[in-house]
């Protein structure tokens, strides 16, 4: 296995892009990334996407996007792992370059959610779960998180304001981020007085619906940012079959392997992009990534340790909550953001002296976890 580097990254702003199609968004990000990467040629195209089938009735995104980008004759495919599609696409591309089979791969994550009605989007997101016995109950993605949220509050006596602090800090970090969907401050009080989405989860504790595309070029040519590790792990698909639903085993397995491959411990990580689809998922993730003991995540966050100037800056561009969560593209956004931080190109969101960054991308109720660790060379 040889080292893999990130050569070029590009992000579109996340929002409701009424004037842009799935293809337009992907091209905007991909062409910009290709321009920046300055690689001789692209050997393969991986398109990360979750919802184009239910939302746009569009499959075959590999060939479709390759054509849109004028790339002919190369292998092109869609990578799908629900909301973890982006992280898993980066993983697959990383393997292909590391193996020596391909020299340069373009990874494009794209999602177009604003074309559909909100209930259609909720159905599409529920496709991450078993249709016969989970989605069949009428539970939503936020509803599953809410079951964990309540369990967590009861077992660890976490206060609502401690958990909600993650959303407030994420919003704080998004201020000044040009690609963030919600780049403004929101107080904990306002979050906790927003309507319930799925009791005990308030609306402002959930990521929103947005369109966006992010692109990366992975290459074997030596660059400034190396993929120190990229791993994927899965857990029991049914929440009901997990020994302890408050332990995200997929996150534990993938991160343990990632630290090992990168030759580091959680202490060496300078910044993290968390999969905070709802606040509780971010809190549980912090614990299962090994940054804080189980049950202490909410307190750790509310004490401000995850602020930009704190011990462990997280969601430095706003995370899923404030940067946005165009589901299949989200994992690619996260890796691109870590790369921008390590390159010193994060603008007003810059974290000082960061050398190692970690991105965590989850699919479904953490049935899939993808971990990417980047290191500045």
């Amino acid at each position: 296995m040889r080292p893999v580097y990130i050569a070029g990254v590009a992000l579109t702003p996340i929002g409701e892009h009424w004037e842009l199609s799935l293809r337009d968004l992907a091209c905007e990000a991909a062409l910009k990334a290709l321009e920046k990467a300055e690689v001789e040629r692209i050997d393969a195209l991986y398109v990360a996407n979750m919802g184009a089938a239910p939302l746009q009735s569009q499959l075959h995104l590999g060939a479709l996007m390759a054509d849109a980008l004028g790339l002919y004759g190369l292998p092109a495919m869609r990578v799908e792992a629900a909301q973890a599609s982006g992280g898993v696409a980066v993983h697959e591309a990383h393997l292909a370059v590391a193996s020596g089979l391909y020299d340069s791969i373009l990874v494009v994550g794209v999602e177009k959610m604003s074309d559909a009605l909100p209930q259609e989007v909720r159905s599409a997101l529920a496709m991450a779960e078993d249709q016969e016995y989970t989605a069949y109950t009428g539970v939503t993605d936020v509803g599953l998180c809410a079951l964990l949220h309540r369990l967590y509050m009861e077992r660890y006596e976490a206060k609502p304001e401690e958990i909600a602090a993650l959303a407030a800090i994420s919003h704080e970090h998004a201020v000044g981020c040009p690609h963030a969907q919600y780049p403004f401050r929101v107080s904990v009080e306002r979050i906790l007085s927003s309507p319930m989405e799925a009791d005990p989860i308030h609306m402002l504790e959930c990521s929103g619906i947005g369109d966006g595309a992010a692109a990366l070029v992975l290459t074997a040519d030596r660059g400034d940012v190396e993929i120190a590790a990229s791993t994927v792990a899965v857990d029991h698909f049914f929440l009901t079959e997990r020994g302890d639903p408050l332990i995200l085993e997929a996150v534990r397995a993938a991160s343990r392997r990632a630290y090992e491959r990168a030759g580091i411990s959680p202490r060496d990580v300078d910044l993290v992009e968390l999969h905070d689809s709802t606040t509780i998922m971010g809190i549980l993730s912090l614990e299962d990534l090994g940054f804080v003991e189980k049950g202490f995540g909410a307190r750790y966050v509310s004490e401000g340790n995850v602020r930009r100037g704190g011990e462990l800056p997280v969601n430095t561009f706003g995370g899923l909550k404030a940067r946005g969560n165009p589901v299949g593209a989200t994992g690619v956004y996260q890796v691109a953001e870590i790369a921008l931080q390590l390159l010193g190109e994060a603008g007003r969101c810059q974290v000082e002296d960061a050398e190692v960054g970690l991105a965590e991308n989850l699919g479904g109720i953490a049935s899939t976890a993808s971990i990417t660790i980047l290191r500045r060379r």
């Binding site: 259609e120 109950t137 009428g138 539970v139 509803g143 319930m196 009791d199 009901t240």
Partner: protein, 133 residues
């Protein structure tokens, strides 16, 4: 939801049927080819307990397509008395009455009316147990 897709789950949804692992004794629901806990492939069909206790619950305010007319509705993670866990709607209860530890029993209810195939789908939901005097 096509008719065959609905039809093949009827036995399990209508009667709350799961499987018993002959190796480790785990009760498995929904049915599958091997035990998710020990990997054993010898599973015997078994009837699940119809009573249980709420471990956690939520109220869905904004439902997916097809469930709009039921909202808001309660969803709970339930530990059945035989040890298996199940995810289900809880009905005949106001959200304010929900609590962790609530005792519930299975009941046969309409789940959804599918517009595209015209099927009226039924299955299990749970409701609070009213103790006999």
């Amino acid at each position: 939801m096509s008719a065959p897709r609905y039809w093949r789950e009827i036995k399990y949804r209508y009667r709350l049927m799961g499987e018993l692992c002959t190796e480790c004794g785990a009760i498995v629901f929904p049915r599958r080819s091997l035990c998710p806990h020990c990997g054993c492939r010898e599973l015997e069909e078994c009837k699940l307990s119809e009573t249980g206790t709420v471990l956690s619950w939520t109220v869905i305010q904004h439902p997916p397509k097809g469930y709009e007319k039921y909202a808001p509705y309660v969803i709970a993670l339930i530990k059945l008395d035989d040890g298996a866990q199940i995810l289900s709607q809880v009905v005949d209860v106001e959200p304010e009455e929900m609590r962790v530890g609530l005792r519930v029993e299975a009941t046969f209810r309409r789940v959804r009316e599918d517009g595209s195939s015209g099927i009226i789908e039924y299955g299990y939901k749970f409701r609070p147990i009213i103790e006999e005097p």
